[in-house]
């Protein structure tokens, strides 16, 4: 039996509220969730000198819990009107594999002494997710520009990748996000000096 006001109790309420606002837009729902999370932290902090300590690992496990992403993913599937169960299962498999990967890291690096290492891995995860999203976005829009409808699974995968970035950004500070954005936005060939290599190679 969970205690009223316990983290489990508040988390369950949070999930119920997330369900209630599932018809809202993603941006509105994200804002509501962030507000609710703040409320939970404030409630938990009442009567103590400092906020309830929450490790980075706990924060990652919380933000990448299947319950949170289930609601979000269901809303995407509904939005894209994907009815076929076999197609839905492709999306759930993709989601599970993504979540398991980051959860495994957060479980393994749960010791506060490992926090710096976990933070580094979140950066790798961010870069990986953004690179993956670039590829999904490319496939979706090269199809769109041809006047064809992009594969809805691909569109949902793009949204899930993009949402990963949004969730991760809440764990970074503004400057980290700017540096990451600049890094990943610079064309990879430029970063690897491949452009100049190719130019000199084509002249040869």
């Amino acid at each position: 039996m969970e205690a009223v006001g316990s983290i489990q109790h508040l988390r369950r309420i949070l999930i119920e509220i997330e369900g209630l606002v599932s018809s809202y837009s993603l941006e509105e729902r994200t804002s509501v969730c962030q507000l609710l999370e703040e409320c939970v932290r404030k409630v938990q902090g009442i009567g103590t000198d400092s906020p309830i300590p929450k490790t980075l690992s706990e924060a990652v496990l919380d933000r990448f819990s299947f319950d949170r992403w289930r609601i979000f993913t269901e809303s995407l599937i509904g939005h894209m009107e994907i009815q076929e169960l076999s197609v839905q299962s492709l999306i759930w498999s993709y989601l599970q594999s993504r979540l398991q990967k980051i959860q495994a890291l957060a479980f393994l690096l749960a010791d506060p002494e490992d926090e710096a290492e976990l933070r580094d891995h979140l950066l790798y995860w961010y870069v990986e997710s953004k690179a993956e999203w670039f590829q999904f976005n490319c496939r979706v829009n090269y199809t769109t520009v041809r006047g064809e409808n992009p594969d809805p699974v691909l569109v949902v995968q793009a949204s899930l990748s993009s949402h990963t970035l949004q969730v991760l950004e809440a764990l970074f500070d503004e400057q980290e996000i700017t540096l990451l954005t600049d890094f990943i936005s610079a064309p990879l060939p430029n970063a690897l000096l491949l452009d100049s290599y190719r130019q000199s190679n084509s002249r040869a």
Binding site: M80, G147, D182
Partner: protein, 123 residues
């Protein structure tokens, strides 16, 4: 045929923030490098990015990285370079928003040397 109001497409130099905010489609004014000079209310609501956060940043790499490819940014750069940017095409936004099919109109006004990205949700 563009979805952009003729009073805007014919005289983009006269577009004020108030006028831009009253339109039912996205209006983004960018400099030749793609840095945002004006970001209207519709675009802000659709993308979930406040104008104060968007303006001053690169549209193509920082605010709407889904446009950072040859299809979108490439057309923009080519059109600005040639001075004849006037491209319309369909696109799908997936970055930090629910998947949203849109129509895009990229336009450069040679008289005022201003560049515009117009965005309308597809019907």
């Amino acid at each position: 045929m563009s979805f952009v109001d003729t009073s805007i497409i014919n005289r983009p130099g006269n577009v004020t923030r108030e006028m831009a905010d009253s339109q039912d489609y996205g209006i983004v004014k960018v400099d030749d490098n793609g840095n945002i000079l004006l970001y209207n209310r519709y675009e802000a609501d659709m993308a979930g990015v406040e104008p104060s956060h968007a303006e001053g940043r690169s549209f193509f790499t920082q605010v709407a990285p889904c446009t950072n490819n040859r299809l979108f940014f490439g057309k923009f750069k080519e059109g600005v370079s040639n001075g004849n940017l006037n491209e319309q095409f369909k696109y799908t936004f997936t970055y930090k928003m629910k998947p949203t099919p849109v129509e895009i109109h990229l336009y450069r006004d040679q008289e005022t040397k201003t560049n515009w990205v117009f965005v309308k949700k597809a019907a």
